[in-house]
Symmetry: C2
Subunit: 438 residues, 2 copies
C-alpha cells in the first residue's frame, strides 16, 4: 500500500480493538456489534459474503503493487477477473439442465451467461435471418413474422424471474446435507426481459370467437410444445427477444421465446416458432406424461402453471464455515409467481421464532427479491430458515405441510421452507429432513 | 417450418393485406396502422429495432431445420449467439475509454462486459486476497479492511447509471452527421451495484469534528484521486464490490470501487485503496488541471459532480435507414443524477412541437429509463429530438442554450438535446448543428 503506508495502521492493532466495540449504529442501533476484524484467518476461510471474488484461487497473478505497472487496455468485450470463478453445473448435458450458482451472486439480476438452462434435446442453432414465427388456428388472418417484424412492434421491458417447475427437488426428496443453494434451487434466475406483448400479435391476427387456448411450439429437436390459456396470452405474456439489455442467449431461446410471467419455465417455450389458437387444451406429451403434479390420492394437478412463493437463504449455506461468532448478515432471495413479495421472515432457531427480514428495494413483482437479516451468532448450534409471503397473502409452507398435501412423490412445485443447520464449529449444512426441529 | 408447414400461409399473402389494415388497437386506438409486413426487403435493410440479433452477419451457421439435429449441451458459462455482434469501441487503449453500444441494446440494464470503460493508466490486476482498503485522516480509529471484511457488513444493492463527465462531447462540439448513439453518448451504462454503504465504514472509523471532505484514491498506475464532500459520503455512497449480480468487472474497479450515485464517473474512484478524511478539498490534479468546466468568462465550475438530466434517441439513429413509411417506435434512454426521470418529450419536427413519450416502468431514481414513442413517418424529411425532465423539475436544455451558458469550449457535462435528421430516403444522421430548425 504504497502512498498510504506512511500513516497506515497495522491491521492487527485496531482490529483487535474493534471486535470489542459496539457500533454499526445505523443497522443495529446502540446494541449492535462491530463486524470488522472478527474474521480470523484459520482455514478453511469461507468467503463470508455473497460474492465469490474474495478468494484467490491460485491460477491468476497480479503484480505486488499495481500502481507500478501500466494496466491492460480497453477491450471490445470484457472478461471476468481471473480470480473470479462462477459456473453453472452440470455442464455437458444435451438433455438436461444446468443450475445458477445462487450462493455466488449478489443483488437480484442473474448474469445472462449464468442463467439456468433446461432443454430437452439441446440448444438449437437458429439463423435469425431464417427465423419465422407463425400464428394460425382460430384467427382471422394467419400471420408469419420475421424477427425484424417482431422488433418493430411497440416493445416492453420487465424484470422477471424464471423458474423450472422442478426446481427444489433436492430440497424435498432424496435430501442431502451436502447441498448448496445452487443444487437445491439453482433452476431460478432473474433477468430484464424485452419483447412484444403477445396480445399485440394476437390482435394483429384477430382471435376468433371460441378461442380459449394456444399451442406454443419450439424449434428445438424436441419440438417442445405446451398449451397456454388465452387469458394468460392476453394478459402479460411476452414474445421476448431481449434479456438483460442484449439479444436472448442461445440457451434462453435465441432469437425468440415465449415469456409467461410467474409461470413454470417449461411453458415459456424457447426458440418459439409457432402459436396455434384453439378452443381447448392441446394435451401435448408435456402436459400428459410430464409436468403434472401427482397427488397422494389418485388425482393429479394438471396445468399447474403458477410458481408459488418461495425463498432460500444463500448465505450462510453449505459449504460455508462461519469463521467466528458475532454478527453475520443472513442473505437470500424470495420470489413469487403471483406478484410482489410482501415479506420474508427469518428464523434462527428452527422455526420456533421468526423475525421480519429487510427487503431490498425496489421490490418488483414476479422478480427475485433480496432479503437481509442481521444475526448475532453466539457459537451454539442453530437452524436458519426463511419464509416468504407474497402480496396475495400466500405463505411459503413447511416441508411437512407440503408433503401432507402433495405426497412424497410429487414431481414439481417444491416451494417448501428450506433450512440450514449451523453446528458449533460454524459448519453449515442443508437441514435434510422433512421437518426441522422447532 | 416442419410441423407447421401444413397449414402455414405464405408470408407474402397476408402480409400484403396487412399493410392496408389499421390495427394495433392497444397502442394506437382505431386510428393506428399495422406494422407487420410494412418492411420491404430492399437493401440495405436496417435492423429496425434496438436489438442487433436480427441480422445474420455471415460467419455463423445454423442447420436448415434445427428440429432435425440435436442441439448443443449445457455449459458452465454461456456465450452469445454467433449471429450477435456487440462491442465497445475503441479497443486497445491503455489510456482512454471505450463506449457502450447504446443503439444495440434494449431495456435498461447494460451487460457487464459492455459497460463503458474509462481509465487513465490501464486496468490494474489486483489479487483480491491482497486487497486492502485504508480509512484514515480525521477519524477516531484508522482502519484497514480486507475484501472479506467489506463483504461481511450489511449490504445494499441498487440500480444506478454511471456516466463519464465527458460523455456527449461528440454531440456538442466537432459534431459529425456520421455519429451513432455509441459515439455520441456511449460513456453511460446502468448496472445493479452491490456494496456496503460508505457511511457504515465511516461510522466504524469514527469521523472527527471538523471533517468535511474525503480523498478517494485508486490503486491503478495513475493513482487516481478525487476529493469527495463528506455529505455525499454519508448520504448514499457505496463501497461497491458487486455489479449485475456478480463481482465487479476488472475495468469497473475489481475488486472494490467507490460509487457515488448520480455523480460524474471519475469521482467514483475504481480499484479503491484509500479514503482519507480531511477538513477541506484535497485539490488533486483531477480537480485542478482536469474535470472542471471552463465558462465563457474567466470563471470555471469546479466540483461539478452531479450529472444533469439527459436523453438520447437510440432508434432510429445513424446508421439506420428506415426501409419504409409507416409506424415506427422511437426508442431511447433518459437519465438524471438528481433522481427519477419525470418525463421525456419527443419532437419529430425539430422542436416545433413536443409529445410526451411513454416511460418504461419501473422508473428508478438515478437509472437509465427507457422511453418509447410511436411515430408515423409519412416519407418527408424529419428531425427527431428528445427532451428529458427529472423529478426536480430540471429540463434538458437545447444546444444553443447550453452553449450560451457554458461557452463552446467547455470540457464536460454536455447534456444538450440531441437531434437526428431523417431524409426522404429514410437515412438517419446526427443533426450536427448548434440548433436544429424549429
Amino acid at each position: 500500500m504504497d502512498n498510504a503506508s506512511d500513516d497506515a495502521p497495522s491491521a492487527a492493532g485496531p482490529d483487535v480493538e474493534i471486535t470489542r466495540r459496539t457500533l454499526l449504529a445505523g443497522a443495529l442501533g446502540a446494541a449492535g456489534a462491530a463486524l470488522v476484524g472478527a474474521i480470523p484467518t484459520r482455514a478453511p476461510v469461507a468467503t463470508p459474503a455473497a460474492v465469490p471474488g474474495g478468494g484467490s484461487q491460485g491460477t491468476a497473478a497480479a503484480p505486488p503493487d499495481p500502481t507500478r505497472v501500466p494496466g491492460s487496455a480497453t477491450r471490445a468485450v470484457g472478461e471476468r477477473a481471473p480470480f473470479v470463478h462462477l459456473a453453472r453445473e452440470p455442464a455437458g448435458l444435451v438433455v438436461g439442465h444446468s443450475l445458477t450458482p445462487l450462493q455466488d451472486l449478489c443483488g437480484t439480476i442473474t448474469p445472462s451467461d449464468l442463467h439456468f438452462e433446461r432443454h430437452h434435446a439441446g440448444v438449437p442453432a437458429i439463423d435469425p435471418a431464417q427465423y419465422r414465427l407463425l400464428i394460425h388456428g382460430l384467427v382471422e388472418r394467419p400471420l408469419v413474422f420475421t424477427l425484424a417484424d417482431l422488433q418493430r412492434f411497440p416493445a416492453r421491458s420487465r424484470t422477471y424471474f424464471l423458474e423450472c417447475s422442478g426446481n427444489g427437488r433436492a430440497g424435498y426428496r432424496g435430501m442431502s446435507p451436502a447441498s448448496t443453494p445452487q443444487t437445491i434451487d439453482g433452476l431460478t434466475s432473474t433477468s430484464e426481459w424485452t419483447g412484444v406483448p403477445l396480445a399485440t400479435l394476437l390482435r394483429e391476427a384477430g382471435v376468433r370467437p371460441g378461442a380459449r387456448w394456444l399451442l406454443a411450439e419450439g424449434s428445438d429437436a424436441a419440438v417442445m410444445t405446451r398449451s397456454i390459456p388465452l387469458t394468460k396470452a392476453l394478459d402479460d405474456a411476452l414474445v421476448a427477444y431481449g434479456q438483460n439489455g442484449e439479444p436472448l442467449r442461445p440457451e434462453q431461446g435465441y432469437p425468440v421465446r415465449l415469456f409467461l410471467p410467474g409461470w413454470e419455465g417449461n411453458a415459456n417455450v424457447k426458440w418459439l416458432r409457432r402459436i396455434k389458437v384453439g378452443d381447448e387444451a392441446f394435451m401435448t406429451r408435456e402436459e400428459t406424461a410430464r409436468y403434472t403434479d401427482a397427488l397422494p390420492q389418485e388425482d393429479a394437478r394438471q396445468f399447474s402453471f403458477v410458481m408459488d412463493a418461495k425463498s432460500i437463504i444463500t448465505f450462510p449455506a453449505y459449504p460455508t464455515v462461519l469463521p467466528g461468532r458475532g454478527w453475520w448478515e443472513i442473505r437470500g432471495i424470495a420470489w413469487s409467481g403471483r406478484g410482489r413479495i410482501a415479506g420474508v421472515d427469518v428464523s434462527t432457531d428452527g422455526g420456533a421464532t421468526w423475525t421480519a427480514a429487510v427487503l431490498q428495494e425496489p421490490v418488483l413483482p414476479i422478480a427475485h427479491t433480496r432479503f437481509r437479516h442481521l444475526w448475532e451468532w453466539g457459537g451454539a448450534p442453530a437452524t436458519l430458515m426463511s419464509r416468504a409471503r407474497d402480496e396475495t397473502g400466500y405463505v411459503q409452507p413447511t416441508t411437512a405441510v407440503l408433503r401432507a398435501v402433495r405426497g412424497p412423490g410429487t414431481g414439481y412445485h417444491y416451494n417448501n421452507i428450506r433450512a440450514w443447520d449451523v453446528d458449533a464449529a460454524g459448519r453449515v449444512t442443508f437441514a435434510a429432513r422433512v421437518e426441522a426441529p422447532a
